[in-house]
Amino acid sequence: MGNRASMQLQQEEIHDIQNETGFSHNQIVRLYSRFTSLDKNNNGFLSREDFLRIPELAINPLGDRIVHSFFLESNDETVNFKQFMRVLARFRPTKTNVNKNKLNTREEKLKFAFQMYDLDGDDRISREELLAVLHMMVGDNISEEQLNSIADRTITEADEDGDFMISFLEFKKVMDRVDVEQKMSIRFLN
């Protein structure tokens, strides 16, 4: 199935990723195999089409936004393995008695969720962005007026500094009572 000599995972890389993300050695190797299986052309990186080839992601109405969050890390049109792992690291379960320099803190998870809704990347969720996301989730068959009222009510509830946009701080406050640590955690290989 092609020569994989160019894509083997070096030991230093594994160590680096381990230090940065906190994944264990086995998890990194397993995820590397997943990465390479997604990478059909053996490029060493993933593009958006590679992600959208995953059927579950393609069906999900918010799938596009999820894929977009992967690409925010790299600021590019491609994602290499390290960036891939950095994004996935946010979904590791949080342990409360572990040092906090990792990427799976509550703040990072919420930041991931926030970036999914922030379409233009200005660190604010505006009304139009909310409407776009609602459209994606609910689809058609619901009137514009109803969607508008929902978006308005959401902003009214969440907004505190009066700029009619939701900043990350306000978003955090809204999610205060939501069990983010459990809902946004995947037990990799456990």
Partner: protein, 702 residues
């Protein structure tokens, strides 16, 4: 990097670990001259390739051995190189086949691993871990949630939790009671009890068989009693532990003032475990319905005129009266049927026998089947919000189930007084009537459990399947049945409650419950996949999954009372069971205590007296009050701190605007304010005119 040190450590690891993938990256650093060293003989890949190339000159060359050696320390790219070039090597066909087989066998794990197969099935040996945790039914539940969503999947997860609990109980009971009895018991064959199960009534399934004297080493009565207590305790501890663990994970900041209904809906309502196309479409539909309903609710606040109010109140009073009537009526009915053995007279003989045997079971099961749907229809009279409707029905159904079970069991206890009415009575040769009331109770409970299962099958097949066939074949708009999570959960909890109630009288009920739960899981899975659609209402019972566990715990606690009553109040049967000689079952413990050294016995007896018991009770009450006061003072502290935060923000804004106004007026619109409030890393933004005026207005209020 210190190569030599690391290298030997790595070599050690490779010898330990079968699966060589941990060698990924060792040796070859991207160049083709990979260095694979074994401890005593160095054979590089290049060397191997060189040898293979001139193998035609070397007649007795054992290429397999060399490849094996190289394989020990090399990685996938080398194997790939070898495999690809295999055709071009000057080896005989046999050699090539052997090498290819070897490479595929040894190297196959690595290659197959890279292709990323299904994760769930893999159980790998790991140098660190000894066991890999394999969760039961994980992929089945994933398949369900792909179509039905996480609400329905939570029902199946609950069944799985119950299965674990029952397995624990079963292990305890089988290990300590059933197995010793089977091994060493001398079965009393002189008296056979004519129970409902015929032969089985006299087996180890029921209480009656267990004897008192069981060889000198094993004290069966004590074991029976203590194991039963331990099984209940284990259930308690397991449920409470799971609840605490889940509770810890959720952050409960009990601030009722911050209910972000719309924001939560917008940001948190998509269920990511739905991964099938049909499931996504269904979920979107129910999300749409939910949102429309929410918007409608917002618009129609407090527009209730007095006419509808009046009808609502009348409806509520009426339905509450009916509900109460139903509860009392069913309780009375169960009691009467249990008491009265000759309810239907003048029936032909075999039918009469059947009726006598099964009347109580039929009544209990029939009531459970008929009454909850009546509750569901009744609640519509009351004109509540749909969410409150669901909760109210849930509460009523729970109360009904508990009440009917309590009455069922207590009315069974009535048979203990009157031996002649007991069907297990047998007139012995020595003209003594010997009866075994525990067997009777155990058998009745057993029968109800079996009938419950039967009703599940009947409803599933006759109702849901047929409805699905009807819809499919005649395309009527009845619609498929919706999976009702709440009533399914209550069903399963009811079954579990029955098991707890009957556990003392029939130790094998735990095993029966395990089998029943397995059947229930697969049957419901089958019916759901084939004949049902996801529920329309997005009813989220609880955010942490604690809700079902709380109902279960409450049931366990409440079913303690009849059990304790049965054990404390009634004299065990004289002729059967392990406690036949005793006045009360717990006397076994006093007997055990009696055998202890004097000082210990005195101490324990002293502990039982009120002189110790009452101060302990008072102490516990004081502790509870103390913690409650502490938690409410923390709550007040939290509210105070939140108010301070808001205050700080407003004060900052005022200051900024004051400075802004002190500068030239035009600069205000370009002023990137709120610098002090912005966390580092967020970009600055312009304040628009509109927001500026809003802030100024707000500030003036202050």
């Amino acid at each position: 990097m210190s190569e030599p040190l690391e290298y030997t450590a790595l070599l050690d690891q490779t010898e330990k670990d079968d699966q060589v993938y941990t060698n990924v990256g060792y040796g070859s650093r991207g160049d083709s001259a990979s260095i694979c060293q074994t401890a005593d003989y160095s054979l590089t890949l290049d060397e191997l390739l060189y040898r293979i190339q001139y193998a035609f000159l070397n007649k007795g060359y054992d290429v397999e051995a060399d490849v094996r050696q190289v394989l020990q320390d090399c990685d996938e790219s080398d194997i790939d190189t070898l495999l690809q070039g295999l055709n071009s090597y000057p080896l005989t066909i046999q050699q090539k086949l052997a090498v290819s087989r070897l490479l595929h066998k040894e190297g196959n794990l690595k290659i197959r691993y890279k292709r990323g197969k299904d994760q769930n099935v893999y159980k790998r040996k790991d140098a660190d871990k000894v066991f890999t945790v394999v969760t039961l039914w994980e992929d089945t539940i994933k398949k369900i949630s792909a179509y039905f969503g996480s609400n329905v999947a939570s029902y199946f997860q609950f069944v799985r939790t119950l299965l674990y609990i029952n397995i624990l109980m079963m292990l305890l009971l089988v290990g300590f009671i059933i197995v010793p009895e089977l091994i060493e018991g001398n079965f009393q064959t002189n008296v056979t009890y004519g129970g409902h199960f015929g032969e089985l009534s006299n087996s180890f399934m029921f209480y009656g068989l267990y004897t008192e004297d069981l060889g000198l080493t094993y004290n069966l009565p004590l074991a029976y009693f203590l194991t039963w207590l331990a099984a209940n305790l284990v259930c308690f501890i397991y449920i409470i532990t799971i609840m605490i663990v889940r509770y810890h994970r959720s952050k409960l900041s009990d601030d009722r003032g911050n209910e972000y209904k719309f924001a939560w809906r917008t940001f948190c309502s998509w269920d990511y475990s739905v991964t099938s196309r049909q499931g996504v479409m269904d979920y979107r539909t129910s999300l749409r319905t939910d949102i429309k309903e929410m918007v409608r609710e917002e618009k129609s606040t407090a527009k209730v005129d007095s006419c509808t109010k009046f009808t609502n109140y009348m409806g509520r009073i009426l339905s509450n009266v009916i509900v109460l009537g139903l509860l009392v009526g069913s309780g009375f009915l169960i009691y009467e049927v249990a008491e009265n053995r000759d309810l239907l007279k003048d029936l032909p003989e075999p039918l009469d026998d059947y009726v006598r045997k099964y009347q109580l079971t039929a009544v209990v099961a029939g009531l459970k089947f008929l009454v909850p749907p009546i509750f569901e229809q009744l609640v519509r009279l009351e004109g509540w919000h749909p969410r409150i409707e669901t909760k109210l029905t849930l509460a009523r159904t729970t109360v009904f189930y508990i009440a009917s079970l309590m009455i069922f069991v207590t009315s069974l206890y009535e048979v203990t007084d009157d031996c002649s009415a007991n069907s297990t009575m047998v007139a012995d040769m020595t003209h003594n009537e010997s009866c075994c009331w525990e067997n009777e109770v155990g058998e009745e409970v057993f029968k109800v459990i079996l009938v419950d299962l039967g009703i599940l099958f009947a409803v599933g097949i006759l109702f849901h399947l047929h409805r699905a066939l009807w819809v499919k074949c005649t395309c009527k708009m009845i619609g498929y049945s919706k999976f009702d999570v709440v009533s399914s959960v209550l069903d399963v909890v009811y079954g579990q409650c029955l098991v707890w109630l009957g556990l003392y009288f029939s130790p094998v009920l735990a095993a029966v419950s395990v089998v029943k739960l397995l059947i229930v899981f697969y049957f419901r899975y089958f019916i759901a996949k084939v004949a049902m659609v996801p529920p329309q209402q997005l009813f989220r019972a609880s955010s942490t999954g604690n809700f079902y566990l709380a109902i279960l715990l409450m049931n366990l606690f409440i079913s303690l009372f009849p059990m304790a009553y049965g054990v404390i109040e009634f004299i065990p049967s004289v002729d059967c069971g392990p406690f036949s000689g005793y006045d009360r079952p717990y006397r076994v413990i006093s007997e055990l205590v009696g055998e202890l050294p004097n000082w210990l016995e005195d101490a324990l007896t002293y502990l039982g007296t009120p002189a110790v018991f009452v101060p302990v009770l008072i102490l516990m009450i004081m502790l509870v009050v103390y913690f409650k006061v502490k938690s409410s003072s923390y709550k007040r502290l939290i509210m105070e701190l939140r108010r301070q935060l808001k205050f700080e923000r407003k004060v900052e804004k005022r200051k900024i605007f004051a400075t802004g106004r002190a500068m030239s007026g035009g600069a205000l619109s370009r002023y990137t304010s709120q610098e002090s409030l912005v966390t580092p890393g967020t970009r600055h933004r312009k304040l628009s005119q509109q927001t500026e005026t809003t802030i100024i207005e707000e500030e003036q209020d202050f």
